[in-house]
């Protein structure tokens, strides 16, 4: 099955970013496809390459980047939400791309299920 995932909160502050990742990981391991992960609202903060969590903690940004690299998952940051919050090409982590909100609607159309994670 083809999943779309919407992430509405930033890393560390809300568990939404963690749950979305664990869900996506489980879906891939079960052989499903992730059509796209779309980052909206504070969710765009998942995409900053400047993040340096404590060494004994998970690295939420790098986890997404690795998932993009290993599974070709399309990680899309909303351009408008990103501009409001200072997520732009300059600080974008590998594997993420910036695009418009149309990409979210398009995922809703293309994916068999679109699951939202937020606050």
């Amino acid at each position: 099955m083809k999943f779309g995932i919407l992430v509405n909160e930033g890393p560390y502050n809300h568990q939404a970013a963690d749950t979305a990742y664990q869900f996506a990981k489980a879906a891939l391991e079960k052989g499903h496809e992730i059509h796209r992960v779309f980052f909206y609202h504070d969710g765009v903060n998942n995409a900053t390459k400047l993040t340096e969590p404590p060494q004994d903690d998970r690295h939420i940004v790098n986890r997404w980047s690795k998932m993009a690299e290993e599974h070709g998952v399309d990680l899309v940051v909303c351009v408008a939400a990103g501009l409001r919050r200072g997520i732009v090409d300059d600080n974008l982590a590998p594997g993420f791309r910036i695009s418009g909100l149309g990409q979210l609607v398009e995922t809703g159309i293309q994916a068999d299920r679109t699951v939202t994670f937020g606050d």
Binding site: N8, Q15, Q22, T114
Partner: protein, 99 residues
């Protein structure tokens, strides 16, 4: 329809709203702070038990375990992990997160 609730019933109105607008026969999955709703002695115990006549309730055990609530789950609530979460999304024809 699969309804996902991620907020504590003692902090927000989310579970109440979900129960009010969930169609008979639907499924509710409690995740994150929402798992407190699945616990004995919690504020939602009675209303959830009552709702279980009409809806099937699941709770994500990684979240129960993180919060030390794994031994307090209301009878009849089934526990799933992230794989089970994926299966629940597949099983129903649509899904709504009550943010």
């Amino acid at each position: 329809m699969l309804h996902i609730v991620n907020k504590s019933p003692s902090e927000r109105n989310t579970l109440d709203s979900c129960l009010r607008m969930a169609k008979k026969g639907s499924t509710i999955l409690l995740i994150e702070d929402g798992v407190y709703g699945a616990t004995k002695g919690g504020v939602a115990e009675n209303k959830l038990k009552a709702a279980m006549a009409d809806v099937k309730v699941y709770a994500l055990w990684p979240d129960l375990e993180a919060r030390g609530m794994q031994d307090s789950v209301i009878d009849g609530i089934e526990q799933v992990d992230y794989n089970g979460f994926v299966d629940l999304v597949v099983a129903d024809k649509n899904v709504q997160s009550w943010l």
